[in-house]
């Protein structure tokens, strides 16, 4: 079901307003709402879910930012309002999210992460065709994050989903579209890779942190080190994506080192790609350098001093280097 939020103009506290002309959420598409604290992300999903007025008024499965566990055993909160089918889905999700063992416990005995997982299982178990999750992965341990992400991705497949996060990795791993919200209005919206690689302006770049996002297939792995076949070459990074899986490599533009010429000598960085400068532009006090590498496109952030010293202009031949430890490779 396609769902839209239109004509929103409401006070979101601290003298700010959330102003949205029209924002559409497509079926079978996961939209990530990204933005700094106080940008209006939570207000937006509240409106979408109907817990604040002004939304589309359709049933939306909703995980609030601070999920609440009701009186009685946790099982009651998990199953509240679900039919038999929904109930068995909820129990199954609770198992996959690692909270099946806490269903007999009471609210005050649960940690923040357990409450969130319980709330997630409840929200995802319903039959609603639209899903809104407010920070589903916060206070979930880093070691479990990938598992939780893939469980969520599976559960929302085919539905129109909106996920609030301020973690770039989460956005890259689970999002199809990225909507950047700053100070109550949409600053940029588009496919995740496009927005991450090409922030519309300085503010968006500042919020996202300019990033490289490279899709590919895991071709090789040794211990925690993973080699991703990205088409234009192999990207080495850290992660636990299994061999043969389709995955995405993410690394910040600030982690990329730029050398002039195609003969960059030797160094410890495992990733080296030869390319041609496509464009440079100032981003805040830094210079963003976009480089064409075969069929791909990478960005690096340099100080103006380095950029001048290297004489980086359009068409200049460069080599980019990135340490594998700075690159995360996540299953998609």
């Amino acid at each position: 079901m396609k769902v839209a939020i239109t004509g929103v103009d409401r006070d979101i506290g601290a003298g700010r307003r959330l102003v949205i002309d029209r924002l559409e959420f497509e079926p079978a598409t996961t939209t990530v709402l990204f933005g700094p604290n106080g940008a209006g992300k939570s207000s937006l999903v509240r409106i979408l879910s109907g817990t604040l007025p002004g939304g589309p008024g359709i049933p939306v499965a909703y995980l609030p930012q601070r999920p609440y566990v009701f009186r009685g055993p946790a099982r009651r909160s998990l199953l509240l309002g679900l039919d038999d089918d929904g109930g068995s889905r909820a129990v199954e999700l609770a198992e996959r999210l690692g909270v099946a063992g806490i269903l007999g416990r009471r609210a005050r005995e649960l940690s923040g992460g357990e409450r969130r997982r319980l709330g997630l299982a409840r929200a995802l178990a319903g039959p609603e065709r639209v899903v809104a999750l407010d920070e589903p992965f916060s206070d979930i341990d880093v070691v479990d994050r990938a598992d939780v992400r893939s469980t969520v991705a599976e559960a929302i497949a085919g539905r129109a989903a909106v996920i609030v996060t301020h973690d770039r990795d989460d956005a890259a791993a689970i999002g199809d579209r990225l909507v950047v919200l700053v100070a109550g209005s949409v600053r940029q919206a588009g496919p995740v890779a496009e927005v991450l690689a090409l922030p519309a302006d300085e503010i968006v770049a500042g919020v996202l942190g300019a990033a490289n996002l490279i899709p590919g297939t895991v071709q090789d792995r040794a211990d925690r080190l993973v080699g991703l076949d990205a088409g234009f070459g192999v990207v080495w990074g850290m992660g636990d994506a299994p061999r043969g899986s389709s995955a995405v490599a993410v690394f910040g533009a600030e982690t990329v080192t730029v050398y002039r010429g195609h003969d960059a000598g030797t160094g410890s960085a495992r990733n080296r790609w030869a390319g041609v400068v496509e464009a440079t532009r100032p981003v805040g006090r830094l210079i963003e350098v976009a480089v064409e590498v075969g069929t791909g496109r990478l960005v690096a952030l340099l100080t103006p001093g380095s950029s001048d010293a290297l004489d980086l202009h359009e068409g200049a031949e460069v080599t980019l280097a990135a340490k594998a430890t700075a690159v995360r490779i996540m299953v998609r």
Partner: protein, 230 residues
């Protein structure tokens, strides 16, 4: 001092003898105030949940009305019912004046705003996260109210106890619509008025002690329940 001790001894004798008249007074008190409290809870709790959780027009006015009702003088509630049930009044044909049913109705008028007001406060006092989670669950209006009432149940129970405490101890309403007829509409409070007027202080004191024990029992039970929950 000797006077007070004599009174207490007389009261003790009355309590231990447990005579039929005293028993009928106690029984009628429990029946009338219990039924009025039950009506107060059945009507007042849903009203209170709606007032504490709902977002609708006229909520402020309804809240003001309930708050006023919480402080309504019992004798006024009695007067309103008296006018309605009087022979020439709109409900006079029912012939309910000076019956326990009229007393229950008058006390219910007092119990409803108390149950509603205390419940509304308890529901409104739930964490905002609880209200948001309930709205997120896609429940029907009634089911949502049940979840909230259960979440706020210590407050709801306190409302019921407060309503019982109010009606069992009031004298104005039951006196006006009941008439304090011996063996028919005499309850603990009207009996105390009667005995005090006759200067039968021992009997008045005995009845007063029973009233106090009644209120204490209800509240001790409630407190125990709430402490166990916390």
């Amino acid at each position: 001092m000797g006077f007070l001790i004599d009174m207490l001894r007389e009261a003790w004798d009355l309590l231990t003898s447990f005579d039929p008249e005293f028993r009928s007074i106690l029984w009628l008190t429990l029946l009338v105030s219990g039924a009025a409290t039950a009506i107060g809870v059945v009507v007042g709790v849903p009203l209170g949940v709606a007032l504490g959780a709902g977002r609708f027009r006229g909520r402020g006015a309804a809240m003001a009305l309930v708050n006023t009702g919480m402080g309504m003088p019992p004798v006024l509630a009695g007067l309103v019912l008296l006018l309605l049930l009087w022979n020439d009044g709109p409900l006079g044909a029912w012939g309910l004046l000076f019956t326990p049913i009229a007393m229950i109705a008058a006390q219910a008028l007092l119990a409803i705003p108390i149950a509603a007001g205390v419940t509304a406060g308890a529901v409104r006092g739930l964490p905002p996260e609880a209200h948001e989670q309930v709205r997120a669950l896609q429940l029907g209006r009634w089911a949502r109210g049940v979840v909230l009432a259960r979440e706020a149940w210590p407050g709801v129970a306190a409302g019921a106890a407060a309503a019982f405490g109010r009606v069992v101890s009031e004298v104005g309403a039951v006196l006006v619509v009941g008439g304090n007829i011996e063996g028919e509409t005499r309850v603990l409070t009207t009996a105390i008025v009667q005995e005090a007027r006759r200067a039968d202080f021992g009997a008045a004191l005995a009845l007063g002690i029973v009233l106090l024990v009644l209120a204490l029992t209800v509240n001790a039970f409630l407190t125990w329940f709430q402490l166990r929950e916390a």
